[in-house]
């Protein structure tokens, strides 16, 4: 995922995303973890400011002690040495629907002005231009976890004003509409991208640029967003990854540099 033109920095955009996502996690939270950047972010947080994070893997694993970086969501290294395994119905019924999950992290092929996520089709559902993977566990995470983070690269195609298909609801047509849903999840709290971090307007639920990564301009972000982007009054520059963060990511979490 290392992008060209970033060689000037001594860290990659993926590393920055991992660090930013990790900082969103709080100690003691129960985190529903997917493979790749979310897994790295949760493990980074656990080694630093959030030692009591509890990780639940969608495949049915609690208390994993992986000896290597998991390469698939059901990697056997998550199982050996874990404290509990459960079935898929149990993960969804008892953990997610049961309200045990504080934070979930999902990806997105498209995400729109109100944080709605499309991972199903580009174009018409019945004769799509591009067929994407579908919902998987994402809608349940959005609706049932108390908090949801979206982690995705920022691309023009990926940030249209309105997604072609709502696979996983963000704030729908606006926060008021989302608030009507009778579920725990109150909508995404942040979108962590390779150029910066977006939050959501507390009243309308509209995407707001909250923080830029060092060296990135508002214009670069605007160019890749398909609507008239709102910029926060308190726009910040995200601090660069600290040495210790990078050391843990590179030496401990992803020594073969598969994701970073």
């Amino acid at each position: 995922m290392v992008q060209k033109g970033e060689e000037m920095k001594d860290y990659s955009p993926s590393e920055m995303m991992i660090v930013r996502a990790a900082r969103e996690l709080e100690d003691g939270q129960v985190v529903f973890v997917g493979i790749g950047l979310p897994n790295l972010a949760a493990n980074l947080a656990k080694r630093l400011h959030a030692p009591h994070i509890e990780m639940i893997y969608e495949a049915g694993v609690f208390g994993a002690h992986p000896l290597r970086l998991p390469l698939s969501i059901g990697d056997p290294t998550l199982v050996s040495g874990a404290t509990a395994i459960c079935s898929i119905p149990e993960i969804f019924m008892y953990y997610l629907q049961g309200g045990l999950i504080d934070v979930g992290m999902v990806g997105a092929a498209q995400i729109d002005r109100y944080g709605n996520i499309n991972t199903t089709v580009i174009g018409d559902y019945h004769s799509p231009r591009v067929r994407l993977p579908g919902i998987g566990g994402a809608s349940a995470i959005s609706l049932l976890a108390k908090k949801m983070l979206v982690i995705t690269n920022l691309t023009k195609r990926g940030f249209p004003e309105k997604v072609d298909f709502i696979s996983t609801p963000g704030f729908l047509g606006g926060k008021r509409e989302r608030d009507k849903l009778p579920v725990e999840g109150k909508g995404p709290s942040a979108i962590i991208t390779d150029l910066g971090v977006f939050g959501f307007d507390q009243v309308s639920g509209e995407v707001v640029l909250q923080s830029l990564y060092p060296g990135i301009t508002v214009e670069e972000v605007r160019e890749r967003v398909g609507w008239e982007l709102r910029i926060s009054d308190q726009l910040t520059i995200s601090p660069e990854p600290e040495k210790e963060e990078l050391r843990i990511i590179r030496e401990e979490l992803d020594p073969r540099r598969i994701y970073i």
Partner: protein, 306 residues
């Protein structure tokens, strides 16, 4: 790194079982948490709503001791022996005080706990057709299938304040392993706001981590872990001790008479400090009689994936 959840039985019951709360003590014949039941009696807990599919001797004793306001169940009796007389006295005659009942079928209770664990506002089931129970228990409702239009029944979730579960072993974080009959313990634990696990043995985390598929209740939902060897007697623990069928027979005579029941409670519950006192009193002869020869499972290979 994480803090141990190990407490004494006294601390666990004092901290998590409040007067007036709803307590579930599951275990289908197997693993009934008698040690915890006795501690609730010793601590004079009052106005509890006691939930179990089969109230068994544990609730007969607690009702006889005056702990209960209500009992929620699906089959009430001393299995294969007769009645639970203390419970009947409370329901029928208000001795020591009036106790309410709320009843379902086994299937209904199991589905209430499943719904409770899954945070569903109801669970559909194919039971109760033609039965009189829905006429006297308005919690059991008819429901139409949104596809076929056919009629089913629904039960509401059961979400106790506290679940008390006995098991063979747990680590100090509450990761709990159980084998033999597993009943509705997993559902009871997930359905409850708090979970107290009492075990025959607290084992090192490595034992649990060596066989994660054996873990029925994850530490994530456990609030307290109590070591209580012989903590399920007179019920049993697979591989550890047998059911004390003789005591179940004796109970028939004890619970029939208020005075004998009181004498039993004074001697075996109030008269001992804790479970160790009970076990000492029980004595080696009974313990030896109930201890089975070993039959070990074969280990399975999980593999090391580096």
């Amino acid at each position: 790194m994480k803090e141990s959840k190990v407490l004494s039985m006294k601390e666990a019951i004092a901290r998590y079982v409040e007067d007036g709360c709803k307590v579930i003590c599951e275990g289908f014949t197997h693993l009934i948490p008698f040690a915890a039941g006795h501690e609730m009696i010793r601590q004079k807990k009052r106005d509890l709503t006691l939930c179990r599919m089969t109230p068994d001797l544990i609730f007969d004793q607690m009702v006889g001791a005056g702990c209960a306001r209500k009992v929620v169940f699906s089959w009430v009796g001393n299995p294969g022996v007769g009645s639970l007389y203390a419970l009947r006295r409370a329901v029928e005659k208000g001795i020591p005080h009036r106790v309410e009942i709320e009843e379902y079928s086994h299937f209904g209770m199991a589905m209430r706990l499943l719904a409770g664990a899954a945070n569903l506002p109801f669970m559909p089931l194919r039971d109760y057709y033609g039965c009189d129970l829905p006429k006297v228990n308005p919690n059991i409702k008819e429901l139409r299938c949104p596809y076929s239009g056919e009629t089913l029944f629904a039960v509401p979730p059961l979400n106790p304040d506290v679940a008390i579960i006995h098991a063979q072993r747990a680590d100090q974080l509450g990761n709990t392993q159980m084998w033999g009959l597993v009943g509705v313990q997993k559902e009871s634990a997930f359905a409850s706001r708090r979970v107290i696990v009492t075990v025959e043995e607290i084992v090192p985390e490595e034992v649990i981590r060596g066989d994660p598929n054996r873990t029925i209740i994850p530490g994530l939902i456990v609030d307290a872990v109590v070591e209580a060897p012989f903590g399920a007697h007179p019920s049993y623990v697979q591989g550890y001790y047998d059911r004390d069928n003789q005591f179940y027979l004796q109970w028939n005579d004890i619970s029939r008479e208020v005075s004998l029941l009181q004498k039993y409670l004074e001697e075996w519950v109030l008269g001992v400090k804790d479970r160790q006192g009970y076990v000492n009193k029980l004595g080696e002869v009974i313990i030896k009689r109930l201890t089975p020869p070993a039959s070990w499972s074969q280990p399975v290979n999980y593999g090391i994936y580096r």
